[in-house]
Assembly symmetry: C2
Homo-oligomer: 204 residues x 2
């Protein structure tokens, strides 16, 4: 059985979206700053139908994360914010969306399917595990969804791409977790010019 | 003129003290967890009058930070919490304490002097710069004091020792900073078994 992982870009002060976030501005003002390290990479460009791009250590890390992912779990807000990612979403694996609604599955181009799960996190994870097989289930966000997985003790691995910028506001990755101490083990540290990649295993 | 620096241990979720912090429990429950990486180091032991200890990469980083520090600025809450650090405080340099009171200077053993500054952060910094000479002024904490220096654009360097633990509550290092974007440059990343040392230069 694969790992349950979360892999996310975060500001040095712990925000995954900047101040001023809202329905029409899901990353907030300056939130795209967190993802600048990704846009020029060959793996990112390929998945968005563009040629070329850089093939550096950052690209290897992105490629590894994608290669190991067999299914994705998302919160509904993230799905709505992205308006379902159009006809050809960048996932190319089964995606399970946590919602309170009853909604039909959606099959898109390129192997992305959206299944809407309205009976909770554990159910979404069980379905995603079956879909992922030997590969990992990636908890794709938003913050609230990652927090639900962390609080329930369901996350095995966490990778944070720390961007050296202070937002001073926005949506925190770590919030409302409860105050039980959670120990992690740092399993990898990679320094790049514009981002530091920290990978952790979460102790049980 | 030396740099103005802050050098602080922080949980992965951004806390410098754990939940339950208060006057009688300044680090909060489990807050000492953040400083475990320091207690066994030769440099720490030497400064607290104990022989032996480890001389690894962590120790070099601690020693560097101490060697470069010519003066310290602290908040009054931190001074009070530590009850003035007894007769032989571990600083061994002039310390400037931000306060609203008028209070006489204190000279302790080993070269530590405490000067109480009641006319603001800029005044404390100016006095600390004179005392530090070519060396750095270290903003020693607490969080609120570091935040004042950050917000006022007075900090040149920041070193965070990230301990892979989630507290879920306590005192945040980054809080109430205002939402003007602050860019930093990552200048050093050092991975150790129990702590990751990230060093930044703050852009102006």
């Amino acid at each position: 059985m694969g790992n349950v992982t979360a892999d996310i870009s975060v500001s040095l002060d712990g925000f995954i979206a900047g101040p001023g976030d809202g329905v029409d501005n899901p990353l907030g003002d300056a939130g795209e700053r967190l993802h600048e390290w990704v846009f020029g990479l060959a793996t990112f460009r390929e998945r968005h139908g563009m040629p070329g791009g850089e093939t550096n250590r950052d690209d290897e890390i992105l490629e590894e994360s994608i290669r190991e992912t067999g299914a994705v779990v998302l919160g509904r807000r993230m799905f709505d914010n992205a308006k379902g990612w159009g006809d050809d979403p960048p996932f190319h694996v089964p995606v399970f969306v946590l919602t309170h609604e009853t909604r039909d599955d959606l099959a898109k181009q390129g192997g992305t399917t959206f299944t809407f799960v309205n009976d909770g996190v554990e159910s979404a994870l069980a379905q995603a595990r079956v879909a992922a097989g030997e590969r990992s289930v990636a908890v794709g966000g938003g913050a609230n969804t990652i927090q639900q997985f962390l609080s329930a003790g369901l996350l095995d691995e966490l990778q944070m791409h720390i961007v050296p910028v202070l937002f001073g506001g926005g949506i925190r990755l770590f919030d409302g977790l409860g105050t039980e101490l959670v120990e992690l083990e740092t399993t990898r540290v990679v320094e790049s010019p514009g981002v530091t990649h920290l990978k952790f295993r979460i102790a049980r």
